[in-house]
């Protein structure tokens, strides 16, 4: 009945024409056009007109209808309903005949024929106007969607970090109306990596804006606080004051230690991730309220250890809340079954997508954003260190003079099984000591809050020792080849042997800069090097 309130349901009455009036003045009538009479949706006249496809004698009609009274008062004698497809779209109102005689049955037939032809024509006109109005609305809607998509895409990671011993994959497919899904992978100090999957309630531009704010706050807090529960608590406190009413963010945040496989996580009301292990599927549950509802919330922190071959699926509700043609939901149990069927070699994301497509059928439009992040620890092998993704050792050292000896000792222990010839080992030890000293002194300036990270990796016939400082990007120490004569004659500082020695001690030394600082990678090629 909503359509009946539209303006084209107004009843218009054309009284006598100007010419008619001048030709034969009629008493008690107003000239020209009168104010249209409106029929309220609950007026019985409306139902009457809709069921009476013929000219109606207004004066003879008895109905408790305000509109009918108005018509009578306006001098309408005959009303011809214009009905198209059972819907009243207008009424042709006629006053007294110019001859002042009653309308004949021929008149009525003529009018009925006219109405039957006029009604569909009028309806077509109305539809065209409706379409035009809708097109304008749709255009505005589409350009808003475009903005939302742009914001969303801009704040999703452009690429995922490469992690030795791990396979990270992500999938994001926005619904047509663009929900507020997001994900992120955040490199953290000491070889740790943060994983985020979140969902903002609401859709379109508002959701996209809240998503971008949440993502930036998470990134900033993740670097400083590390512990997932603290990170979520901090982001929640920062989001609360500016959160639009009736909006909130669900979010799972986990920090992976890629060397040990430990995954610490906290959850702000987001869908529970699944872990596929050798023994079945586990849920990573942790309590916490969604972000942006109330400040001062605590977030429970839990831990899981991912063994070689284990996979984790982080996901958004777009998967479990997908419906099939019968409006059945995909649901958590189905998703859990899918994860349980995952094999070691198959992509978990592909498996979920194919199960989901088989469930919904091909013609079902995607209702909400679909987001997945998967994390898989590579399966073990017989090569030393390979079962840990090639990592033989990892340690973090305070920047204090003399601590390079600890790095040397740790590397020596780590490579015991490789049985390096003693000359090679001694050279490696010197290189590690010098690289660590450089990192402590030049990179970290011997500051207590800046540790040196040392990692020992063994893969593909190469031994790599990575020594990283936290001195920030862009300040590589100046390199000057040491010249002993110049040093002896006092023209060059007697120091400055570190990098020179390192390069002579190992097969390759590579220096790279990253967000945090610099990494010097020492490489030994091990082919045919057994004693």
């Amino acid at each position: 009945m909503a359509a009946l309130t539209k303006p084209f349901h107004r009843l218009r009455r054309r009284d006598r024409t100007e010419e008619a009036t001048s030709a034969q003045p009629a008493p008690a009538t107003t000239p020209t056009e009168q104010t249209p009479v409106e029929i309220a949706p609950n007026d019985p006249l409306l139902a009457y007109f809709q069921t009476a496809p013929e000219a109606v004698d207004v004066e003879a009609l008895e109905l408790d209808s305000p509109a009918l009274e108005e018509l009578k008062a306006a001098g309408v004698k005959l009303a011809v309903p214009l009905v198209s497809q059972g819907e009243l779209i207008g009424v042709l109102n006629l006053g007294q005949r110019l001859s002042e005689q009653d309308y004949s049955s021929d008149d009525r037939k003529l009018l009925d024929n006219l109405a039957a032809q006029a009604a569909p024509a009028l309806r077509v006109g109305q539809l065209v106007r409706e379409q035009e109005a809708e097109a304008v609305t749709r255009q505005r809607f589409e350009s808003e969607l475009e903005v939302a998509r742009l914001i969303q895409q801009n704040f999703l990671p452009k690429e995922l970090p490469e992690m030795a011993g791990w396979q990270v994959a992500a999938y994001y497919r926005p619904a047509r109306e663009v929900g507020g899904d997001f994900y992120d992978v955040i490199p953290l100090p000491d070889g740790r990596v943060g994983f985020v999957v979140g969902d903002v309630t609401d859709k379109g531009v508002p959701a996209a804006l809240v998503m971008s704010a949440t993502r930036s706050l998470l990134r900033a807090s993740a670097q400083r606080l590390i512990e997932p529960g603290e990170v979520l608590a901090r982001v929640n406190d920062q989001l609360c004051p500016d959160m639009p009413t009736a909006m909130f963010v669900t979010c799972l945040y986990g920090v992976l230690d890629r060397f040990t496989g430990r995954l610490r996580f906290a959850n702000a009301g987001h869908d529970v991730p699944y872990v596929k292990t050798a023994h079945g599927v586990e849920e990573l549950r942790a309590r916490g309220m969604p972000l942006g509802l109330m400040p001062g919330m605590d977030y429970e922190e839990k831990e899981a250890t991912l063994a070689p071959g284990d996979s984790v699926l982080l996901h958004s509700d777009g998967i479990v809340e997908s419906h099939d043609a019968e409006r059945d939901m995909f649901g958590f149990p189905r998703l859990k079954d899918t994860v349980a069927r995952a094999s070691r070699d198959e992509s978990l994301i592909d498996l979920v997508l194919s199960d989901l497509a088989a469930f919904t059928g091909p013609d079902i439009a995607q209702e909400d954003d679909i987001t997945m992040v998967t994390l898989k620890r590579s399966a073990g092998s017989a090569v030393p260190g390979e079962q840990d993704g090639g990592v033989l050792a990892e340690l973090s050292l305070a920047s204090e003079p003399g601590n390079e000896r600890e790095a040397i000792a740790a590397v020596e222990r780590a490579v015991t099984d490789l049985a390096l010839p003693s000359a090679r080992l001694e050279k490696l030890k010197t290189a590690v000591g010098e690289a660590t000293m450089n990192a402590m002194e030049h990179g970290n300036e011997y500051r207590a809050d800046r540790p040196v990270l040392v990692r020992v990796l063994h893969a593909d016939g190469h031994l790599r020792v990575q020594v990283s400082d936290h001195g920030g990007a862009g300040r590589l120490p100046p390199r000057e080849s040491p010249d002993l004569e110049a040093k002896l004659e006092g023209r060059q500082n007697p120091r400055g042997w570190g990098l020179f020695l390192i390069e002579k001690m190992v097969d390759e030394a590579r220096e790279t800069s990253h967000e945090d600082g610099h990494t010097l990678e020492l490489v030994l090629r091990l082919e045919g090097e057994r004693k």
């Binding site: 003079p401 003399g402 000896r405 000293m437 002896l488 500082n493 007697p494 042997w497």
Partner: protein, 110 residues
């Protein structure tokens, strides 16, 4: 971590002096090495022998100290010899060309 500070003891050997080094030759060794060299050079010896037999660790800062000592000795026309270097440190003395400016005596351990 405990740093084994360098101990340097001076003895006479014919026309020369011997500085026996024990411990780590790093930044912390400067004072001990300077004092030992001053003592060894005081008698205007023909040469000074640096005995590394008991020196278990020499880093680039230690190399710099040796460079400093060598520069001083050259100014005083005192020959510097190195004794008891392991093969590894002997190689480092060659790489750094210290061996071009001081005599490397046959190593006592390999």
């Amino acid at each position: 971590m405990t740093v084994h500070e360098l101990e340097a003891s001076v003895s006479r050997e014919g026309d020369g002096a011997v500085i026996a080094l024990a411990g780590e030759l790093n930044l912390t060794a400067q004072e001990a090495l300077d004092a030992a060299y001053a003592e060894a050079a005081a008698g205007a010896p023909e040469h000074v022998v640096l005995d590394f037999t008991a020196a278990d660790y020499i880093n680039s800062t230690g190399i710099a100290l040796i460079v400093g000592l060598l520069a001083q000795a050259r100014a005083q026309a005192i020959e510097v010899r190195a004794r008891g270097l392991s093969d590894h440190y002997r190689e480092i003395f060659e790489i750094t060309r210290l061996s071009d400016f001081m005599t490397i005596e046959g190593s006592t351990h390999a």
